[in-house]
Symmetry: C2
Subunit: 322 residues, 2 copies
């Protein structure tokens, strides 16, 4: 049996999930975990280090899982891992959305894989399904509920809470950060729809060109009106390819309650793909959480281990974005 | 570029779809089509034959697509294709549900692939996703709306028609056969849930052991009652693994209208997987139709062509079925 030695960068919620799952995988061996000294796990002290060089220079390590979060340091770690000829699996949507071109060119140069299923939609295997589908199908439209925090808030508003009450509840339950701007204004979903669009159409979608409107202005009255008309309000991202341009937006939408998104509530995420000849395909799953996200990461590791990793993104098309 | 020469057995609705899609695939070459003489397409006469031996003995043909429908002849054709060392891609749920063990053992012996994504859920890539997911996840439950005809009938009943009116409409639109027993009594879904269960738990589920109840007794009153209580009636198949046994049933179920199945209407199909650690995953797509089904077939061909075909089913477990 082929085996793989891996290092995990970051021992937060997702890193812990990856470590737990890998313990049960006979062909994946966690060799090192990068974390600050105060967060070392006393039960596995021998695995921990706070020195990334120790990981890069370890020739036994085949693959690095980046689950540090944040941008600058995470990007540096991904790049260095590639340059030390290690495969990279990351959940980092910000780095992937901004630097997919740059990192892909380095990965190609060093002949390693760069996988990022966990960066969009938690446990939903949407990256993989797009990669597979596009071998036979043309994708014309992607719509998604791809932010659990805002979907939770809107769900609670439809259960009767005001925006402020729903936000507080989300923060109390740990679904929303103390500064929830990136979620509420849609910056988080802009990154995710950019990543899916890159992949679907082999082009780079600059997140700065995405039209965006947040959900902070939605009132109890908006919710009541929607209910009266058998509608629901969902915070969605949408990307449509028309001829030589792609229209991308993130905004709250009023949808019929017969829409597939209607019952996608709380922390669930969903993606609808319009394809030809396959027609409409919808994927729904847990959009966040330690284990669903970690499962997506470990599935990426298995793909690389079994030589089944599919190169997804290629920067070969140039479309106008608006 | 690696290329593959294929033969298509059967030039009905799905066979035509496969031929159409393959025309646009530079690495798939349709070499022969088996059909009765009176159904030969005059525009492609040189491709047609009514003699299957001509296909089996043609050493240039790498792969056979079986879309004949029916049971005995289709099974014989699949088996012979395997014995002539050709890969097989089939949409035949009856043959796969009954003979997966037998055919898999022959395929292993002749070192060819036997792929059957199109046998369940039309264009929904459910077979592939189960194969992939189970590398890291345990599946505990599968639920599905996997028959377009009955889902169409129930949808129309919720729009106000009686059972008889809805059935007539389905027959008029070509969604239901003149003898609709296999759909209405759930025999069609029994095959499909058996196929998914085989795969999820690496065991053989005998369709004769599946509990079954049809939809012919559902009345307008049942529908009205459901509506009054914010419920919906869906004809579903369900398979649950508990310890050393698997419970499988096909029956109409009364579901809350917040259920993911609530908006799966008309010819749409859906599958919900309960998994660990990934949690709940839902897939919705067109359950039938020429192009969605043909797309699933061509995706199977591409997998085999690229050496990405995953052996799914292994008969290694023995569970009690009830």
């Amino acid at each position: 049996m082929k085996k793989m030695n891996i290092a995990i960068l970051g021992y937060g919620v997702i890193g812990k999930g990856v470590f737990e799952i890998c313990k049960n995988m006979p062909n994946i061996n966690v060799v090192k975990i990068l974390e600050r000294k105060e967060k070392f796990d006393p039960n596995y002290l021998e695995l921990f280090t706070d020195n990334c060089e120790e990981i890069f220079r370890n020739k036994k390590i085949d693959l690095v899982v980046e689950v540090l979060g944040g941008y600058d340091f995470a990007k540096e770690m991904i790049l260095k891992s590639i340059q030390y000829e290690k495969h990279v699996v990351t959940a980092n949507k910000e780095v992937i959305a901004k630097d997919i071109e740059y990192l892909t060119s380095w990965a190609n140069r060093f002949n390693v894989s760069l996988a990022y299923e966990a960066s969009v939609g938690g446990g939903i295997p949407i990256i993989k399904n797009i990669k597979e589908l596009k071998k036979v199908n043309k994708i014309s439209k992607i719509s998604g509920i791809l932010n659990g925090t805002t979907n939770f808030i809107l769900t609670k508003m439809f259960e009767g809470l005001s925006f402020e009450e729903a936000l507080k509840m989300a923060q109390k339950l740990g679904f929303a950060e103390s500064d929830p701007t990136a979620d509420l204004e849609g910056y988080d979903m802009m990154r995710k729809i950019a990543i899916l669009s890159d992949l679907a159409w082999d082009t780079f979608v600059d997140i700065n060109l995405i039209k965006q409107k947040g959900i902070t202005n939605i009132t109890k009255e908006d919710v009541e009106n929607a209910k009266l008309n058998n509608k629901v309000i969902k915070f969605v991202c949408e990307s449509v390819k028309v001829d030589d341009h792609i229209e991308v937006c993130v905004e709250p939408k009023i949808l019929d309650n017969t829409h597939f998104f209607n019952n996608v509530n709380n922390e669930f995420n969903a993606v609808i793909l319009e394809t030809y000849p396959n027609d409409t395909l919808t994927f729904i799953g847990k959009g966040a959480g330690s284990l669903p996200t970690a499962s997506a990461i470990v599935l990426d590791i298995v793909d690389i281990l079994e030589d089944r990793y599919l190169v997804g993104y290629q920067n070969k098309n140039s479309y106008k974005i608006n």
